[in-house]
Amino acid sequence: MEVDKGKGEAEETRKVAEADRDTVTLKSSDGKLFEVSKEAAARLSTVLAGMIAGGSIDDNGTDLKQIGSEALENVVDYCNKHANSIPSAALISSSISFNTAPFKEPEEWERKFVDRLSHDALFDLVEAANFLGMERLLDVTCHKISEMMKGKSPDQIREVFNIKNDYTKEELEEIRQELAWAFYDD
């Protein structure tokens, strides 16, 4: 009985110590450690929020085996920048407005943030954002990728995005016929 009680107290103090820390340490697949503010991590990533709430955060570095150090660095960088940025009041477009995509456009600093990334880094970051459940970062990176696709021919897109063309010539021609309007070059 007493032992149990003592154990409980010890756990309690540990939890308090954990709660006192305002950063979490994340460990990339290649073993590098990154610190990020607990508040930002919990706010921006549903996965990290779940881990923090569930107490599965490791003081010595929470293993994120799926994320390379470069991508994780960008994630942490994004979290820090997001914490410093002033949130804009722009909201999803209201119901009456027709013909507007229900997306919140990336803010200026977010645009710059993804613009400076290399091609590979961008794709790594998309995957990391997807893995960590970072909705906003996923939005921003997907926006960037979609912008890279706009105005390009299928051949150009395949080249840029490294997509293998597994159509036969006839199949491709059939699709082009079917969706002729989409391929018309104005």
Partner: protein
């Protein structure tokens, strides 16, 4: 692992779909040609836009391309192409699509069937709730007023019966240069089900051939309607909203040539209206006596206004609850001071009051309520001022009324008689064209507001 080239194929399908959503319609459809994997991705395109295909069609026709090699008339031929080209509907291998909204630009043509099918498919199968149809101007219009295309509401009815069983899933509809209903339809026929679940209806650039009866039928056919915008509707019609059971919260009438708009029983939260310069007169008639008691949150207010455009406040968008800044009041035959005071009390943020006196032999009203104070009123403009005892009393009463806010400054009053283009007291507002005043209009009113009905209202508190 690091040697694997990075790229889109490495991304999970969920992420690819997120990217697809952000592409415009043409680019999103075109991704089907990237690879088999991409063509199988279900597409959710928030806004399907079918636009800018005129040059595409012309090039096809010029090049002698024809979908099926059929020898259609030149008018029929180009339409076949986009109908199929948009849909890819002969090819079932393409992934399922869904969309929230569809915007369709229509070129005038002889054959709209492919477009009608496209719309029916979009609403019925793809789950489109917002539909915007714009009929483009014909290169050589045979007649400016010609309605070449009507909203194909019949296409949605067959669909709804088979799939959902009730009405249509269409929530928001915007029609531009496109009649919502055929003019010839009998009023006895049941209202088209396509309108049954609409909450927003925007009718824009309606030609003269769309008669008042059509508007009335459409309004009746939309029991769920909350927002109605009528813009540039060029018919000389009398529009009547028998809105006893209606849910309309916002009514915008802009650049329309309606003879009158009668809103009975119920006042929308917002009424906006501007008139084209060519309009002779227009009235929005509100039975305020009953309506005000129903609404606790009135947002902007134009009451029984009429006359040339200078009477109409160009922008009434700003006012919010209780923050009506400008009020154009076209006073009823039975106007009296108490009525105006009620309005002023109801709008404590009101800065400008325009009063259009159309009937100078108005009866001497009831006395003003004791202890009346106006809010932020700074300017009162009275047109049609005849200097009758009642009117003089009204002006002096407003001038002498205490002000709740010391910051509001002194009250300026400008009065204009029918024959003079400048203020009787000063030389302000020379832009008012008094000569173009309409003749007194309320004699033709179907139901004149009974005298003193406002006075009897216990508390017309709007806040």
């Amino acid at each position: 692992m690091d040697s694997t080239p990075r790229g889109a194929p490495a991304l999970p399908d969920d992420v690819l779909r997120l990217i697809l959503r952000r592409l415009d319609t043409r680019s999103a459809l075109a991704t089907a040609a990237l690879s088999k994997h991409w063509s199988r991705l279900p597409r959710h395109i928030p806004v399907l836009e079918f636009k800018r295909y005129r040059r595409y069609l012309r090039r096809r026709v010029d090049a002698g391309l024809d979908d099926r090699g059929q020898h259609d008339s030149t008018c029929d031929r180009p339409v076949r192409a986009p109908g199929h080209a948009f849909l890819g509907q002969r090819r079932n291998k393409l992934a399922r699509r869904s969309a929230q909204a569809m915007a369709l630009e229509l070129l005038p043509t002889n054959n709209y069937a492919p477009f009608n099918r496209l719309m029916a498919k979009a609403v019925g199968d793809w789950g489109v709730q917002d539909l915007a149809i714009v009929v483009l101007k014909q290169p050589t219009p045979p007649c400016e007023d010609d309605v070449s295309y009507g909203f194909p509401h019949h296409c949605f009815e067959g669909d709804s019966k088979s799939s959902t069983g009730f009405g249509s899933s269409l929530r928001r509809l915007r029609l531009s240069k496109c009649a919502p209903l055929a003019s010839g339809g009998r009023s006895r026929t049941p209202p088209p089900a396509a309108f049954s679940s609409l909450t927003v209806l925007i009718l824009q650039d309606m030609p003269r051939t769309v008669r008042g009866r059509v508007y009335r039928r459409v309004i009746r056919a939309c029991p769920m309607l909350e927002v109605l915008h009528l813009k540039s509707c060029l018919t000389r019609a009398r529009i009547c909203f028998d809105t006893q059971t209606s849910r309309v919260k916002e009514l915008v009438i802009d650049q329309c040539t309606f003879i009158s708009v009668h809103v009975r029983s119920l006042m929308p939260d917002q009424i906006h209206s501007t008139l084209p310069s060519s309009a002779h007169e227009m009235r929005i008639l509100l039975s305020i006596s009953r309506a005000l008691s129903h609404f606790s949150a009135l947002e902007s207010l134009v009451v029984r206004f009429s006359g040339p455009e200078m009477w109409i406040v160009p922008d009434l968008l700003a006012p919010l609850v209780g923050e009506v800044l400008r009020l154009v009041a076209d006073l009823p035959r039975s106007w009296d001071i108490s009525w105006t005071c009620r309005l002023l009390e109801a709008a404590p943020f009101l800065e400008t009051l325009h009063v259009h006196v159309t009937n100078h032999d108005s009866r001497v009203g009831y006395g003003p309520p004791s202890g009346f104070r106006h809010g932020a009123l700074r300017e009162v403009v009275i047109l049609g001022f005849e200097g009758t005892e009642t009117q003089l009393h009204f002006v002096s009463f407003l001038r002498d009324a205490p002000n709740q806010h010391a910051t509001a400054g002194p009250l300026h009053t400008h009065v204009f008689s029918r024959l003079r283009s400048t203020c009787n007291d000063c030389t302000k507002h020379p832009c008012m064209h008094v000569s173009s005043f309409p003749s007194p209009v309320f004699r033709r009113l179907p139901t004149p507001v009974p005298a003193g009905s406002y006075h009897g209202h216990p508390t017309m508190k709007l806040l």
